[in-house]
């Protein structure tokens, strides 16, 4: 009986193909958006986690001023100086590497080519913190760092823009607006970071040189550091805080005039936002599923009325009320499950497309797929029940007389 009802449902759907397809659309959209969202969300967070572990899950940033978020530090807070970095290096053994970082943007020139890029004054420790390898040439030498010689390490994007293929950038003199520096190394390609910024679009110069020739002062606006393996970031944070308060001679009552960020805290904020977004979008998807379910109920009610005579014939021939109920219930379940299957396929296609465009991992979450299938069938049962019961409750004589 069940198999027959299944065949019956399929042939009934085929008989009213256009209507069935339109009925399914609500479910298709609902399921497709759920599948796409969950898969894209999982892909994005997998990519985030991957880049966190790659780029300093153990790194700490110290910036002057107190602010609630990144980038909003007050201008009145005094910046750091080189001696702060020296003290951190010499007193906190839990730190693996410490480097001051200064940033600006300049137009760089070589031969007849020019390119606007980020210039970063750093020390060699910066490469350790960022886990950044040198592909060609070498890092800075102690003497270059100490005296601030005009040398630079160039990011991949910049070399591609300035040098024709086949030209070895090492030893070439690059002009940074009003002075020139010798390229001593080329950084290995890193790609876009978690926020979608091209990390290879940068030129690294010795911090001393940056201070002397670009900023013209000995201030430092960011200190980056990485914590040794096995030591909790919190412990390092406490130590840094104590030293920095001493360095900046803050009294007991004074609040911190600097902030310490961890990459992880930042990312957990982001993933929190992503999660909230997923929940909200999931809510929207749930609404569209309900709307889809109501669509199915509506069509099934119409169908039951239209097929009153058929119901009468079936009852006369020996169908019980349960047989009729099963028939219509299975029809609505098949309808919504088909919608669910199409929705899963569409959703996977969308998430594949998005993962391609956004360059995140394409993850097929089998649990979500099975849940989506079950949910779509449950919608068929839920919203198919009322019409099916209406069909089953029909009086055979009246149904047979129906025109």
């Amino acid at each position: 009986m069940f198999v027959n009802a299944l065949f019956l449902a399929l042939s009934e759907i085929r008989r009213n193909l256009m209507r069935s397809v339109l009925t399914m659309i609500g479910i298709v959209i609902g399921i497709a958006s759920v599948i796409a969202m969950v898969n894209i969300g999982k892909g994005a967070s997998a990519s985030v986690t991957e880049s966190v572990s790659k780029l300093g899950s153990r790194s700490l940033f110290i910036v002057p001023g107190q602010s609630k978020g990144m980038g909003g530090q007050s201008t009145t807070a005094t910046p750091f100086e080189l001696k702060d970095i020296e003290v951190l290096k010499n007193t906190i053994f839990s730190l693996e590497a410490v480097s001051g970082v200064e940033n600006t943007t300049l137009t760089v020139l070589y031969a007849d080519k020019n390119y606007h890029t980020g210039i970063r004054g750093v020390e060699n420790d910066y490469l350790v913190i960022q886990d950044w390898q040198i592909e060609m040439g070498r890092a800075f030498e102690k003497s270059e760092l100490r005296s601030g010689l005009s040398v630079c390490i160039v990011g991949k994007t910049v070399t591609n823009k300035l040098f024709d293929t086949g030209i070895n950038p090492i030893g070439k003199k690059i002009r940074l607006e009003h002075f020139s520096c010798e390229a001593i190394g080329v950084l290995k390609e890193k790609g876009a970071n978690t926020f979608g910024m091209d990390q290879d679009d940068a030129v690294l110069v010795p911090l001393k040189m940056f201070q002397r020739r670009i900023s013209g002062s000995n201030t430092i606006h960011t200190i980056m550091s990485s914590v040794k393996k096995g030591i909790p970031l919190e412990e390092a944070t406490i130590q840094i805080r104590r030293i920095m308060r001493e360095q900046r001679s803050l009294s007991k009552e004074d609040e911190d005039d600097f902030s310490i960020f961890t990459m992880q805290a930042l990312l957990s904020t982001i993933s929190g936002i992503t999660q909230m977004l997923t929940v909200m979008l999931g809510f929207v998807a749930a609404i569209s599923l309900v709307v889809g379910g109501i669509g199915i109920m509506n069509i099934m009610l119409v169908s039951v009325t239209e097929r009153t005579r058929e119901i009468g014939i079936r009852l006369a021939i020996g169908a019980t009320a349960d047989d009729i109920l099963t028939q219509f219930l299975i029809e609505s379940i098949v309808l919504s499950a088909l919608g669910g299957i199409i929705g899963i396929i569409v959703g996977l296609m969308i998430s594949w497309g998005v993962s391609h465009v956004m360059d995140i991992a394409f993850i097929v979450d089998s649990l979500t797929i099975s849940v989506a299938l079950v949910v779509s069938m449950a919608i068929g049962i839920l919203f198919g029940f009322v019409p099916a019961r209406k069909a089953a409750e029909k009086n055979p004589i009246e149904a047979l007389r129906y025109e």
Binding site: M1, N4, R15, R309, E310, G312, I313, R314, L315, A316, I317, G318, A319, T320, A321, D322, D323, P396, I397, L400
Partner: protein, 225 residues
């Protein structure tokens, strides 16, 4: 086989109460071919629906082979129809957009008979009504007479104990009507019991007994031949 005792059927209550059937007492033996005649509104269809377990009497008793049909609930009546009865209606009542053979197979589906056996039984039934060349035809592609023959095939495919036909020739011309009556007679001579409602004296002559109804009462019973 069938025994109706003081059977009554009324619609509505109080002032608007109408008695459609009054104190019907009838006995129909196994193997009989009974025709029911009477003017329009005399309660023929109502009586047929009660005998066919599609409706329940308001009063009185209905026994079918010792089964008290008036005591059955709707599921039990459905099962009774499924295994014991066959119906032929005036308006054919075939399923639309469903082939002749699928229509004939339908009662067997509810009996839970396997697809293969279903197909061969339905084929035999359609052959016995002369439609073996029209198996895959949709009802809309068949003439009225052919549709009624499909309906007869559907009614006899389960080999029912009782075949009920409510004006089976009502929509057909005389020649087609006689063809249909021949098929019913055939089925009757093979040992089945048939109850048929008709308006036409000519068609009633195929029966062995004619029950005349008037205003919901049995007016007279006439033996043919």
């Amino acid at each position: 086989m069938i025994s109706l005792e003081h059977l009554g059927k009324s619609y509505g209550v109080g002032e608007i109460k109408t008695e459609v059937l009054k104190d019907i007492n009838l006995h129909i033996e196994k193997g009989e071919f009974v025709a029911i005649m009477g003017p329009s509104g005399s309660g023929k269809s109502t009586l047929m629906n009660i005998i066919g377990c599609l409706d329940r009497p308001s009063t009185g008793k209905y026994f079918f082979e010792e089964i008290a049909i008036d005591q059955l609930n709707s599921d039990q009546r459905a099962l009774f129809r499924r295994y014991k009865l066959g119906f032929v209606f005036q308006g054919y009542n075939l399923l639309k957009k469903t082939s002749a053979i699928e229509n004939v197979e339908m009662p067997l589906v509810y009996q839970g008979i396997s697809a293969k056996k279903r197909h061969s039984l339905a084929y035999e039934a359609l052959k016995s009504v002369g439609l073996e060349a029209y198996l895959e035809r949709d009802p809309s592609q068949l003439s009225g007479g052919q549709q009624q023959r499909v309906a007869i095939a559907r009614a006899i495919v389960t080999n029912p104990s009782l075949l009920l036909a409510d004006e089976p020739t009502g929509n057909l011309d005389t020649k087609k009507s006689h063809e249909i009556m021949m098929l019913l007679s055939d089925f009757h001579t093979k040992g089945s019991t048939i109850i048929m409602v008709t308006h036409e004296e000519e068609m009633a002559q195929y029966a062995s007994r004619i029950i005349h109804l008037r205003d919901g009462e049995v007016e007279r019973i006439e033996d043919v031949r």
